[in-house]
């Protein structure tokens, strides 16, 4: 074997090795959560709120956190959607193709995407104080909406860009205005892709904890009002995990398993939608 192919073989081995390492780490993480969480997973965990003494290992469940997370992230996703969709439609239908504004806006959203969630948390916290709110479902919702706005906008932009210009031209040629073209033609063509973007943003939002420490608070009761604190899955996992009582830690693993399953489902559904979308795109 000459030197050239020796070098190539060494590097190829290293490459396969590191790819396998990454797969192994993924399996190890999922495996740890399943092995540790499954024994503690029970029906009452999913259907009950914590009862008194829950954090000492007594009866109850984490329904408060499951519902809280769904409400909070759902609300945030809706808020973000009402900004994301119009903004992407403006960039792709209204604005002149390749204009400076389009360039700058995409750039800014990319930069926004890079801001860490703890900073969004701090920002949400100052907003909350400014408007005289306390830690509450509403404050958490608004903070998470800021956090997922760039994610949703960028992913949506990515699909709406794929809508062929010919489709737009055909719509204009029939006398449609830009508004009609945007909301009746483009949205329909890109619908599965838009849903995927929404799901991706939801998945990112439901797993985030750092932005909620300041803004959503925590409570043992089920979410009841926009202006009351709310429990969320990541934080309930974090709090239960920091106690030394094995029962409670076990429930933290089970809660982590629930959260992971929710996120896996979202990821599978969005992948399915992306495939569907790719099939229907007019190329």
């Amino acid at each position: 074997m000459d030197k050239r192919s020796l070098e190539e073989n060494i590097f190829k081995t290293l490459m396969v090795g590191s790819t396998l390492l990454i797969l192994a780490v993924l399996l190890m993480i999922l495996g740890t959560i399943v092995v540790k969480g499954l024994p503690f997973l029970s029906w009452s965990m999913l259907t009950q709120a914590p009862k008194s003494g829950y954090y000492l290992g007594k009866e109850g469940g984490i329904l408060n956190a499951i519902l809280g997370s769904l409400y909070l992230t759902g609300g945030a996703t809706i808020l973000a959607f009402f900004i994301s969709l119009p903004v992407t439609l403006y960039l792709n239908v209204y604005a002149r193709r390749g204009s400076r504004l389009v360039y700058v806006t995409r750039f800014v959203f990319d930069v926004l995407w890079g801001i860490p969630s703890i900073v969004y948390g701090a920002f949400g916290f100052t907003l909350m104080l400014f408007f005289g709110l306390h830690t509450s479902l509403l404050a958490g919702m608004i903070t998470v909406a800021f956090l997922i706005l760039p994610i949703m906008t960028r992913s949506m932009d990515e699909v709406i860009r794929m809508v062929p210009n010919a489709l737009l031209d055909a719509s204009y040629a029939l006398g449609a205005t830009r508004w009609e073209t945007a909301f009746k033609v483009v949205v329909r063509q890109a619908l599965p892709g838009i849903l995927t973007a929404v799901l991706i943003a939801f998945g990112r939002g439901i797993g985030d904890a750092a932005s909620l420490i300041f803004t959503a608070g925590f409570t043992d009761s089920l979410p009841s009002s926009l202006f009351r604190p709310v429990a969320t899955l990541p934080l309930t996992i974090f709090f239960q995990f920091s106690t030394p009582i094995p029962e409670v830690r076990g429930r933290a693993y089970a809660a982590a398993l629930i959260l992971t399953i929710i996120i896996l489902i979202i990821s599978v559904v969005s992948r399915f939608l992306t495939k569907r979308f790719a099939r229907h795109v007019v190329r």
């Binding site: 740890t32 119009p86 969004y120 508004w179």
Partner: protein, 307 residues
Amino acid sequence: MSEESLGVQRRRLFWDRASEKLLYLLVISSGLIVLLIAATLYFRSRPVLQMQPLRSLLFSLDWHPSRGSFGFLPFIAGTLWVTCVAMALAIPVCLLTSIYIAEYAPKKFREWINPLIDILAGIPSVVYGIWGVLVIVPFIKEWLAPLFHVSSTGYCVLAGGMVLAVMVFPFIIHLSTEILKAVPQELRDASLALGATKWQTIKNVVMRRAMPGIVAAIVLGISRALGETIAVMMVVGNVARLPKSLFDPAYPLPALIANNYGEMMSIPLYDSALLFASFILLLVVLYFNVVSRMILSGSKWSSYYYG
């Protein structure tokens, strides 16, 4: 045209123009969010900036909030340590993997590895943290530290760095695979036609061409690592001292911010100091992001910005 349909026409045209103005406003104001965040955090951190000169805030080791002295050096150092360790571990693994995926892997393999990497990207931070505490921390305490003849609780810089490295894997791999794929096939063909082996082509042609993009991807990975909070906080020990080795605990900035929400409102200036910490974090991350996005958008890889 009848009177009525003229009215409809006028309404449609009016709405078309009105919607353009409205959407334009929406785009501009959502673009201004960055400035809004920076301005709010700066405004809220002014009290502590007025109390203590910037230099002592950034370079003093003296952290006693109840006595009114806020020296951020231990936290800044903690952040740098953990991030450096994470990148030292992540960069080689990520580069090798993305070269493999982009250049060598068969198409079938590529089709199922991408979803798996996406799953890794989707795992919530707190789950990474649990994995770190259950797997990485004991591993360091019982295996790695004795190997180097030091005693460690396992909650240390290295644990934080290892967990963080795994968290930035999917991010860097995704970006750099895209960048490698965007290198024109003709360049590879030309090099192969001249008798270079596949590896020589990758090393001397593909990598050289992709280098600025790869650097940008790594810088984006660093900025992601800098702000990661929960998972790192769970494994890094959170002791406000300068770490002296990989096996010492550290206390990164994001962990400081997240951990002290409780006391923050009862000690004067504490809230301002914590918001100052998030302001520093924001500025550093913004700087890294702008630089790397500029590298990416200035090159041929990203036709993204110009639709």
